[in-house]
Symmetry: D4
Subunit: 217 residues, 8 copies
């Protein structure tokens, strides 16, 4: 049967359960986290507004809230060595919340993350100043809004896989991130794939999966 799939999930994935906080009540989140915490050392809740965080933290004080990426994290085994290889880059400062969601997700998977923020293509020298860091990476997450051109430029500079995250940063013909999304899907650089608009969690998780692939076992 298939009933055994779920209970082995943490074993297979090496990752705690993740909760999508948006659209849940604080009470629901508390209840779900408590249940997951019975079997997991780590629990991650994404898209948590500050007000929800406050309620949850009163109930489960061992969690930590990170306001910028709006993450609630339970981590009972934080002092593990991190595996290097991941770079998270952003086009602008307004993309940082999504980038931090990606970076902290990967870090919770015991990955080491180098952050290159505000290196968008309108000032190319900022990006090119970090060329070596980019070319040493094993997997790169590119987070960009507005026209999202950063993914193509980075993809053309490196041969590592690039995970592109369009953000909803912008206005007008940006159409809440559609512009950056289409840009990234049409990238003429090779090695680029795309996740949903503002989906930092998905990109960080995938980066973690990929970076672990080289593990001896």
């Amino acid at each position: 049967g298939f009933a055994h799939l779920d209970q082995h999930r943490a074993i297979r994935c090496g990752f705690p359960e993740v909760v999508f906080g948006q659209g849940k009540t604080p009470e629901q989140v508390v209840q779900i986290v408590r249940r997951l915490a019975e079997r997991n050392d780590r629990v991650l809740v994404t898209r948590v507004a500050a007000e929800m965080a406050q309620v949850v933290l009163e109930q489960i004080p061992e969690m930590a809230y990170h306001a910028v990426p709006r993450l609630l994290i339970l981590n009972r085994s934080p002092d593990t060595p991190k595996r290097p290889g991941i770079v998270v880059a952003t086009g602008g400062t307004a993309d940082i919340p999504v980038a931090e969601e990606a970076a902290m997700t990967a870090e919770l998977m015991d990955q080491q993350v180098v952050r290159l923020y505000d290196v968008g293509v309108a000032g190319l020298h900022r990006l090119l100043g970090h060329l070596e860091v980019l070319q040493r990476a094993r997997v790169i997450v590119v987070v960009a809004g507005m026209e999202g051109a950063l993914a193509s430029v980075v993809g053309g500079l490196v041969s590592a896989p690039v995970i592109a995250v369009p953000t909803s940063v912008g206005y007008g013909a940006n159409f809440q991130g559609l512009s950056a999304l289409l840009t990234m899907l049409n990238s003429c650089a090779t090695g680029v794939s795309v996740v949903n608009i503002d989906n930092g969690f998905g990109a960080g998780y995938l980066a973690g999966l990929i970076n672990r692939l080289g593990d001896p076992a």
Copy 2:
């Protein structure tokens, strides 16, 4: 009254009449060109298919047909000195027809055009190898399909006005040029404006207008 506007057009604009060839019959084009040729030294017909060109050339042998940009040109005063200042760049080779439409339109306005073709962002060194040419330009036309990121990158490297032309080159989520169009409209580089998808003529014409602005008179 307003009736004088039209007859003075060539005087005001320094440019011959332009005919939009698409959707007209060869006979209509012949007739319109003949009428315009009575008062103009130069007539430009855009979006002319090869079959139409053949019919028109039989009737008006002094015209020349340019197959790549699909332009029919009558030019009785071709040996004028050209004013330098315009660069036309493309992301790929498939963008060349649109770029040539822009370049030859500007040349017919007595502008000198430097062509930088196939310098798309997925191979940044190709573009950066021409940095000086770009930074010396007075106005730059950037023609790109797929994700259209070239306009942002060029816009960030120069302080000249950049006229961005999205092309319909691509497939899938390109949506016949929508992707490049949105990219260019959302450019975070300053000094970039956009014309319609595949509108090389409009970009070349505008580049000509802008480059002439510095004329002593």
Copy 3:
């Protein structure tokens, strides 16, 4: 290397740094302005809500806030002579905030701006009453919402470059400015290019770049 690009920016562009205020905290804006002010006589912050402006002004009292275009401006060298040549026109009164963003951006670049507001095509005589002003302009910014037809009409009356700014003014099938955007991109008048919906800053900046092109040096 490319590291020298940035420090020479003000020299190349003749323009101060610009900060995109939307999506930043007041603290971030204060910090960025202070840093930019160390090397620039002028700093422009766009898309600044009144509440943010209040906080910033308490910290940096030498700035001025313009509520209609939502601009924060630091200008330590205001008494420079302005170069004539730019007209900014709007279809309606609701387009004025975007138009003012354009006009004040250009003025900060030492350009002189003639304002023609509320001259939309539904009352053509209002526009035609200013025909001479329009035809004398070296570059025209047309700001219009709803159907955005003003750009085509102006483009047909003049031979100067027209920078069209669609606005999100309207309702229903306007789709937050999409209607005016498409109208302007499809303009059958020559010499018209388009910037993003509500992007007065971009249009004003580009108008400044173009108008300066005729400079003796």
Copy 4:
């Protein structure tokens, strides 16, 4: 019951039955026309390709085919006096097929139609040269593609009802007529309503209905 509605249609409407030719076989059209001709003096078939027309004309030689608007017409009572009041205007020459569909539909309803073709807004003097004709009209059909701005300009010049017909003439961000459609729906001129893209028949029919309203009885 409702069964009487249909047989009185010609009486109520003073108009022949109309057949939508597109997507039918020539045989189906022949059969439908024959049935309708038993009770009606006039039958109109719209959207008829040349090949279909040839087949139908061989079977029903008393019909006439009009290639430009692709109309097949049976008219056994052609010499009726026409009621003046309708103007049909187009932005360009490529809009003429749709305009002729409108004009000939109205004429078949015994309306007199004044044609003003190729008076688009990019050359405003062409339109303004016909101001008197426009202002004397009782109802105006405006047919325009690309950006479709003509409807707003005409609507602002007259107080008669304006029926706007967007056409699919254009390319790129025209999106097969969407651009002109949105423009016309968002018209800031009063008295403007819109029919489907390329629906010349619908506009001509409606113009006929409206112009007849003033009939003594």
Copy 5:
């Protein structure tokens, strides 16, 4: 010249100036109404929120505010005889605000309006119970949201012109009125034309224009 167009507007149109209230400040509205009231007996302000109305009424107490259609009306000559001929019908009760905007606009033009509200097609008998009223009308305004099918059904029952007004009533795949808009544009009934989503004013105004056409002079 064209300057005389505007001053004769009330004469040509037989209608007072109309102000688009949305996006204006109460102060702007007061000022505009005062200026218009100098030469017009009637002034109409559309899309007026209750808070704005309160401010304006304090300044101009002779105006009246109608909360459902959100109209502010100045009418110094209210006791004119009304011309019969207009029917305004709605699909549901949620469409009534838009319908009232249409009806009161037409009434201000001295038209008499019969209201048929909540006669949507999901309960066809409600509509058919009013068949005679519909068939006697000279012009019909159909206001409907959700799928907007009422316009087609009414258009098929009558030979009078039908002005269809899609509303934004609905949810989900309604896309803020897009669904009803497309339905109405694609109506297979003849004699139907369409105005913008929620544009009751435009429909009422046009209905007034059309109904007046039969006037002896």
Copy 6:
């Protein structure tokens, strides 16, 4: 395991495998039909162009091709009694191919189908003349293009489930069936659900499933 699902499919569903012909080569279709025919008395291939049918029929002469709905059918047990209860209605004649696809699919499931073609809402009496047939039905398939209003009108007249099939019949703002699709999804009549544009097969199959529900066992 799940491997038994497929071989029991005909038993569970009372229906043979269905082959989606579009995008396959005739050879692939022949091969798949042969394999299915080993275990099934009936095989249905949908979306079969005439050229493909010819090739397949040469190889498998016991199949029958139906050109209007483009169906290829193998039926070795055709003389089964049919269960009454299904009505298939269309708005126009151009919708008949899709309607026949639905009807013949249901018939192959041993359902009896009453066809009501060309009863669109623009001539309501045609529909209402069949009211009794509609109200006796156990399940109704409504096939309509253009504005697709027929589904709502039928849905309001009956209490049986209505399966709405939008078709791509139309032009302009129909957008290849999007208009009818949105209309049907937003139907304010209860009991209406929708399948994909032009998906006659899906509707007929579902109608068969529903009509069989009342079976004694």
Copy 7:
């Protein structure tokens, strides 16, 4: 005439009147419910916000408010036996409000509903653990947001009709439910039809209609 249709509605449909609460004032709802309650034992009001519910309950205390599905229900004959056969399944917990709207609507029609919540495809074993329940159902409502894949998977596992309800749960390229809607419309599983985004009421009502079809009488 048709006037008899309405008064027999409860008889034909076996279901009380339903009121669409959204966009009505509490007063309007009270008034409509009171009128309906004169002739019906059951009245259902959908899309009722908590504030509206409070007002209505003060006026009509015999109603009950269900906060999760936002339903107001008047039920004077609650103790009827329920007919088994309906399953309502959701992909996630955020889809529960829509699912409850469906389930409670069906229950009010005297149907028995089995709920399978949070069985989305990303954890397939959760779904497969309920295979028997699914395969015994006579009609299944599948409620899912984000990518909405659950409808296809369920549709492939069962031969009962599946009514798919896309929800607006998600973010980014979900576009308020468009993603799930398109997924469900394109389902390659047979027997699946779709209702509007978030339209739990419509799905539950249709499920009730279908499940009743097998009734002896």
Copy 8:
């Protein structure tokens, strides 16, 4: 400088140059392949129509053409050992051309590919029969059209990275692949990223990059 980037590309990437065949003339392709072949053992040309292939093969007989994925391949070092780890799965048979483009691209990068074709979710047992193969994979390419649900189901069954390729297979509300694209972007399974519609090349290339990450050197 940056000029050295290009010449080292094959070294960095371990992959030959790739040519985008679409929109090029056969002559251009011949010329480009010849130039690339001077320095590369392998050259890949994508999106090559049969007619183009014929011309190129006459000029460069050592190339091989693969008609299904439309690939032209030059491979002078074919007998290299392949690295296991990649699975390419499709929903249907019509997705095979895109899947083969992915598989053969990866194979040209010395990767070993297991093909699981026609395992779409409408017949889940087909997929689950290969569960072990899926769970042993290091990276999985999922190619699916219509509703594209396969990516989510696979993503939920494995912890390897999943590269999702939407295809344009389908009709109606599929909108040339948009439906599958949105489904995949909104996948609620973790570890899924997306490339452009029909971009088999991009997915295969990225799979190769990822699978190589575990290399000892």
